[in-house]
C-alpha cells in the first residue's frame, strides 16, 4: 500500500537546500538563460514552474566531457593513470517521466558487456526524484512512445503537483518568470523504491500525511492527462515499415533541409554517441570521452578517406533509423521518449514526428 505525503513548495525548497549541506542536489534551473539540471546552491532559483530543461538529465550520468585517464609520454615510455572518480551520493530532483525513461534506455547501452563504470557509478549514487507532468508542451508526444507523463517507474520518489484554481492552462507558453511565485503550491509525494522510502523517512520534518481527497484530486488530474497531448502519433508498425525503407527517397528530401548542426542529438535525452579525444600539453595529457553527433561528416570518416555515410542523406537516415529501428532490434525499445526537445530546437523544423507520420503513410501539413 503506497503511503502518500504532501509537501508545500517552501518546505520542499527548505528540505532540498538543507540537503546541500551534505550532498549534491541537482535541480532544474537556468544559468545564463539555459535551462539544465544544475547543482543547487545559494542564489540559484529552483525552476519549479519552468519547462523541462533544454539540456536533458543524461548529462548528470553521461557528461559532455568525461575524463578517462591521464598520460605522460617521455622518451618512448608511456605512463597511464586512470581517473579515479569519487562518486558521491546525490539527489537528482525534478526529472520528468520522459527523461526518467531515457535513463532506463541509456542503462541498456552503458550496462551489459563492457559496462561504462563511470556511468554506472553515477547512476548508483543518484536518488531520482521525478515530477509528474500536468501540462504538456505543444511539442510533447511522450504518450505516443509509451511514456506515462504522470508517473516515472524509474524514479525512487514521485512529486505530483496538486491541482489549484490558479494553475496556468495546459500547454501554456507562459515563461517561468511571468508566473506567480507559487508558494501555495502543494505536491503529493510517494516513494517507489526502498531507497526512496528511506529518503522520505529522513525528510519527515517537512512532510505531512496526505489529507482525504488529495490523492483522488491528483488521480483526477492524472486521468485528465491521458488525452492531453496535442501531438499524437500512431507508432504501430513504424519499426517494421522502416526496415523496408532504407532506400526511400524521403531521406534525400529531409536531408535537403538539414544543416548538420547536431542540435537534435545534443538536446536528445537518449542520444549517447560519443567521441574519444586527447588533450595534450607538452608530454602530458588527458584522454576523455565527449558527446559526438551522427550529424557530423567526420563521425564516420576513416583515416584513409573512406566514409560510409558521406552525405547528409546517410547521416539523417542513421539518426532516425538508430532511434526507431536499430535500437529496437538491439535493446527492444524505441530510443525516443517524446520529450519534443529536437522538434523545438531544430532550426529548420526537421521533425521526428514528421518522419513517423510519413512512414505511416500520413500527410505532413506543418511545412
Amino acid at each position: 500500500m503506497t503511503q502518500y505525503w504532501v509537501i508545500d513548495r517552501p518546505r520542499a525548497e527548505a528540505w532540498l537546500r538543507g540537503l546541500t549541506q551534505k550532498q549534491e542536489v541537482l535541480v532544474p534551473a537556468a544559468r545564463s538563460g539555459v535551462w539544465a539540471f544544475l547543482p543547487l546552491e545559494a542564489g540559484l532559483a529552483i525552476g519549479w514552474d519552468g519547462a523541462n530543461p533544454l539540456l536533458p538529465a543524461k548529462g548528470a550520468f553521461f557528461p559532455q566531457t568525461d575524463p578517462l585517464f591521464r598520460f605522460r609520454r617521455e622518451e618512448g615510455k608511456l605512463n597511464i593513470e586512470p581517473v579515479a572518480e569519487a562518486v558521491r551520493e546525490r539527489v537528482l530532483f525534478g526529472i520528468r517521466p520522459c527523461d526518467a525513461r531515457s535513463l532506463a534506455l541509456l542503462d541498456k547501452v552503458f550496462g551489459g558487456p563492457f559496462a561504462d563504470s563511470q556511468y554506472q557509478a553515477r547512476r548508483a549514487a543518484t536518488l531520482l526524484v521525478a515530477w509528474a507532468c500536468d501540462h504538456p508542451r505543444p511539442t510533447c508526444f511522450c504518450q505516443s512512445v509509451g511514456v506515462d507523463p504522470t508517473t516515472a517507474p524509474e524514479a525512487d520518489v514521485m512529486f505530483a503537483p496538486l491541482p489549484r484554481e490558479s494553475r496556468p492552462a495546459q500547454g501554456s507558453e507562459q515563461a517561468p518568470h511571468q508566473r506567480e511565485p507559487g508558494s501555495e503550491m502543494q505536491y503529493l509525494v510517494w516513494a517507489q523504491t526502498q531507497r526512496g522510502q528511506s529518503w522520505l523517512e529522513s525528510g519527515m520534518d517537512y512532510l505531512a500525511r496526505a489529507q482525504a481527497g488529495q490523492v483522488e484530486a491528483w488521480q483526477e488530474t492524472a486521468a485528465g492527462m491521458a488525452n492531453a497531448h496535442p501531438l499524437e502519433l500512431d507508432m504501430e508498425g513504424v519499426t517494421d515499415r522502416l526496415r523496408q525503407r532504407f532506400d526511400d527517397s524521403m531521406w534525400e528530401e529531409l536531408s535537403a533541409r538539414c544543416l548538420g548542426c547536431g542540435i537534435c542529438t545534443f538536446v536528445c535525452p537518449t542520444c549517447h554517441c560519443f567521441d574519444i579525444a586527447d588533450w595534450q600539453r607538452g608530454q602530458e595529457g588527458l584522454r576523455f570521452k565527449c558527446w559526438d553527433s551522427c550529424s557530423f561528416r567526420d563521425f564516420t570518416l576513416m583515416a584513409g578517406g573512406h566514409n560510409p555515410r558521406p552525405t547528409k542523406k546517410e547521416r539523417i537516415r542513421q539518426r532516425f533509423l538508430h532511434k526507431l529501428l536499430y535500437f529496437v532490434d538491439r535493446y527492444g525499445a524505441v530510443a525516443c521518449v517524446g520529450c519534443g526537445r529536437c522538434v523545438e530546437q531544430c532550426p529548420v523544423h526537421l521533425d521526428i514526428t514528421e518522419v513517423i507520420l510519413r512512414v505511416k503513410g500520413g500527410e505532413w501539413a506543418n511545412v
Partner: protein, 290 residues
Amino acid sequence: MSEMMAGGASAAVAEPSVLVPQVATIRRVTEETPDVKTFQVVFEDPGVTEDFAYLPGQCCMLSLPGSGEAMISITSSPTRRGFLEFAVKKVGIFTSALHELEPGDQIGVRGPYGNHFPLPLMEGRKLLFVGGGIGLAPLRSLINYVIDEKDRFGPVSIIYGARSPEDLVFKEELFHTWAALPHVSLHLTVDKGDASWEGHVGFVPAYLEELAPAPEGTTVITCGPPVMIKFVLQALSKLGFPPERVITTLEMKMKCGVGKCGRCNIGGKYVCVDGPVFTAAELAQLPAEY
C-alpha cells in the same frame, strides 16, 4: 575526501573505465612495405600477456595518447604465445605517429575485441584465402593458426595481390615460410609489375576467376579494400561458392570498440562487437552502408 565524508554523504570510487588501455612495449618492428610496418608488442605486465586469450579475426585498440587510437586486427596467431603482432598501414595521424616508433617504445593496447573467424565453418574443409593489400593482416592470424593446427583443417590455398611487388606484405612468409609448406599453395598477383616481377599481373578478383577454384568442400576467407571485397564476393558467387561458406572481415571507423559510441554500425549490427567477421550470407542481410 575527509571533508566530504564529514558532510555525511558517502562516496565510492568508480572502477577505471574499460576504455583505459594496458601499456605494452614494442619488441620488434618489421618494415613490410613503404607504408606498412608490423609491430610485435608485449604487455608491460606479464600477467596481462598470460591472460590475453584471443582467436584469429579479433582486433585490438592501439593507442598513442596524444595522437589517438585505432582498431587494428591482430595479425599474430594465438598458437604463438607471448606476444601480439599488428600490421599497420600509415594512413592518418595515429598510424603516422605509430610508424615513428622503434623497439623499446611503449603504446597502449586494449582488447581483444569483436568476434573471430568461425572455426566450425572451416574445420575439416579446404580453405581458400583471398586477400588484397593490408587485408592480408587479419588473414595471416588465421593462416598461421591453421598451419599450426594442420590436423584440424584441409589444404590451404592463398590468392593474394597488392598494387605492386613492393606493396606485398609479409614477404618472408609469402616467399619462404608458407611457400615451403606442401599443403599450402600460393597464388600471388600485382596490379602493376616491375622489372624483377615474373609472377602474375592483374587484379585479385580477375585472378580468382581465372584460377576458378572448385567450391566443393571449400570455405573462403577474404579481406582487402572494400572495392576488392565487393568484386571478390561477386566472383565467388559466379564460381558457385555458397554465401554461407564465404567469410569476410570489415573495417569501420571506431572509437570505443565495445558497442557504445555508436558509429561503426551497418544497419543494426555493430562491427566492433557483432563483427568484424561476417559471412557473405550475413552481409547480404545488411544495408550496403560500409
